[in-house]
């Protein structure tokens, strides 16, 4: 098994008295796609922002270890971290409509990133921006390179953002719900694009999403988060075919089925997201909760399929 590219252990992020991420551990191998799933507020985005050192809220406390290529990112100085951001680890955000600075052309913004990390001429950076825009499927890139963000549609902007993220050939691409703000046909195109680019550039990808469909299409490994903790982790096959955590069951059940009898109502997970104060974070909303759930279950399991649930083996049926 190759060395992990990124290894996060016991990451904790607290804002004042609120714990957003509570002892999260995971790893990403080179070239692998890790799908991080969970509802809004489960701590997916904030944990990735923490990994990149992009949390700037005053009073945020971040602890744990984030080892990337042998270096603990949490201990790096600002300047060292800047050299990694954008060059070795790139991040794409949810809303392409607001992710680009409105007053500069697309090409300028891509060239800016290239020139922040490599000593290349303006001309060369621009040529690379054109090539990248072509690569992500922008038609007539030599003209579109001079377009402003408001002249692009949402899907095109997300393509431009992806082109920018890939401009320095990062080893790891963190994509925070890159398809959520787009319509369904565009979503499929963007996923296709990401799959193709991953094959071409060989970047590992952490794909944050709340959409099980997206995960099932693109991920090699899946991490299910709830209340700032990992509740299940395993290969895509394991998680989709033999899900072990009641929360994962709930997530999978709430995906509409095309085959089989049509449900009168789509099943939902009762209650609202948010960790209960003590014990298993999901206990309040779990149909299977029992006495043991008053304690926090550890993430355990074998053959790479881990889950955090006290439920005995014979009761693990959906």
């Amino acid at each position: 098994m190759p060395e992990p590219l990124l290894e996060v252990s016991d990451l904790r992020i607290r804002f004042g008295g609120f714990t957003a991420v509570d002892g999260l551990s995971f790893s990403v191998r080179p070239g692998e796609v890790l799908g991080v799933v969970g509802e809004s507020g489960s701590g997916k985005s904030v944990s990735m922002l923490g990994v990149l050192g992009l949390i700037r809220t005053p009073g945020a406390e971040i602890s744990g270890k984030v080892v990337f290529r042998g270096r603990d990112l949490l201990t790096l100085k600002n300047a060292e971290m800047r050299a990694i951001r954008g060059r070795e680890i790139a991040m794409i955000f949810q809303d392409p409509m607001t992710a680009l600075t409105p007053v500069y052309t697309i090409g300028w913004q891509i060239a800016e990133q290239i020139r922040a990390h490599e000593k290349v001429s303006r001309r060369a950076a621009r040529d690379r921006a054109i090539a990248l825009l072509g690569e992500v499927g922008i038609p007539a890139p030599e003209q579109r390179v001079d377009a402003y963000p408001h002249e692009f549609s949402g899907g095109m902007r997300q393509r431009a953002v992806i082109a920018m993220a890939l401009s320095c050939n990062p080893a790891l691409l963190i994509a925070d719900e890159p398809t959520t703000a787009l319509d369904v046909t565009t979503q499929a195109q963007i996923l296709d694009l990401m799959r193709r680019l991953r094959a071409d550039h060989g970047s590992a990808v952490v794909m944050i999403t709340h959409d099980m469909g997206v995960v099932s299409e693109i991920a090699d490994e899946v991490l299910v988060m709830y209340g700032g903790r990992a509740v299940e982790r395993g290969s895509r096959r394991q998680v989709f075919h033999t899900p072990r955590h009641p929360y994962t069951w709930g997530l999978l059940d709430s995906v509409p089925r095309v085959n089989g009898p049509r449900a009168r109502r789509l099943p939902t997970i009762p209650g609202t997201p948010g960790a209960s104060g003590q014990g298993c974070p999901f206990a309040d909303r779990c149909a299977h909760s029992f006495a043991a759930c008053a304690e926090v279950p550890p993430l355990t399991g074998d053959s790479g399929h881990l889950d955090a649930c006290w439920l005995p083996e014979e009761k693990r049926t959906r």
Binding site: R82, R85, G86, L100, T101
Partner: protein, 322 residues
């Protein structure tokens, strides 16, 4: 961009025409008022009244009166004040313009530098002690009325401390640039600072708010994720976008000030500018002068706005197509 500029100035011309018509109608076609009597001033003799009637064509239809008025203003430049017997209006205004321009341009440079500097500092250092301190300074500037601050400055620099610290301060009044840039600037130094203080405070507060909003924008997060330096993010991304509303406000303020809104500063510091001219004309009910200065003020407000809109389009590509 060229097309935009042409369109914008075309629109400005149209607005100027509309304003001139409106001003004309207010002065000459207000029902129940004899414009000739107004223009001739109080207790005018019948001969003067007849002269006014003939020269402004009050026996002719309104469009002709308008044309005659514009001819007096812009072509023959012979609009005459009857209150100050025989004084020509246009040369008076032309004489006052450089004074007002000197005052306002200098103050504008100072307040933009101070305002943008203070606002950026406070916005970027948010959460530290610098932010509230700078903002306190800004509130201080905003809350001092110009007429009071000006008088206090005069009291200190011209009287109380004139024999010691401020012995280099020249007497009040205006010295044209032709008599030396140094003397010109020295005479205007305290008027500049007094006028700029108020605006610097307003602009600093406004920019700080804009900057803090911009720093929370998604594009700033993207810029951070790109690995840019904080300085570059602040200047090239956040500040660049925050300046857009500042520029539009600047256009309005600058236009209004050149148009005569610097009146209080001019009066306090004894500067014979357009504001002071209007002020005197209003006290004497000198209609031709008032009309001249109103049109002049409108001209500068409209011109400044057009220039700002062009600048705005330069700053914000989203505007160009609109």
């Amino acid at each position: 961009m060229i097309g935009y500029i042409l369109r914008r100035f075309g629109a400005a011309l149209l607005v100027l025409f509309a304003i001139s018509v409106l001003v004309f109608l207010i002065f000459f076609a207000t029902p129940g008022v004899d414009p000739a009597a107004r223009i001739a001033g109080k207790n005018a003799d019948p001969a003067t009244l007849a002269q006014v009637r003939a020269s402004f064509g009050f026996d002719k239809p309104l469009p002709v009166q308008y044309a005659l008025m514009m001819k007096h203003l812009f072509i023959s430049h012979d609009l005459t004040s009857f209150v100050n017997r025989g004084t020509l209006v246009i040369p008076q205004i032309i004489e006052a313009v450089p004074v007002t321009l000197s005052l306002v341009v200098g103050a504008a440079v100072i307040w933009m530098v101070l305002g943008v500097g203070m606002g950026t500092l406070a916005g970027a250092m948010r959460g530290t002690l610098v932010d509230p301190l700078v903002m306190l300074l800004g509130v201080f500037g905003v809350s001092l009325p110009v007429y009071w601050l000006g008088e206090v400055v005069n009291l200190i620099t011209q009287k109380q401390l004139h024999d010691s610290v401020f012995s280099w301060v020249p007497p009040l009044g205006y010295v044209p640039m032709s008599e030396g840039i140094g003397q010109w600037a020295l005479h205007l130094l305290f008027p500049w600072l007094t006028l700029a203080l108020l605006y610097a405070g307003i602009y600093a507060r406004l920019l700080r708010g804009e900057l803090i909003n911009a720093l929370n924008e998604d594009y700033v997060r993207t810029a951070r994720a790109k690995g840019l330096s904080e300085r570059r993010i602040l200047v090239k991304h956040a500040l660049r976008c925050s300046l857009i509303p500042i520029v539009s406000l600047f256009g309005l303020d600058f236009g209004a000030l050149v148009g005569g809104a610097a009146l209080l500063t001019e009066v306090v510091f004894g500067l014979p500018g357009v504001g002071k001219l209007t002020y005197q004309a209003l006290q004497n009910l000198d209609l031709p002068v008032i009309m001249g200065t109103v049109l002049y003020a409108a001209f500068f407000v409209v011109l400044a706005n057009a220039v700002v809109d062009v600048l705005y389009a330069r700053l914000d590509p989203r505007v160009r197509r609109a």
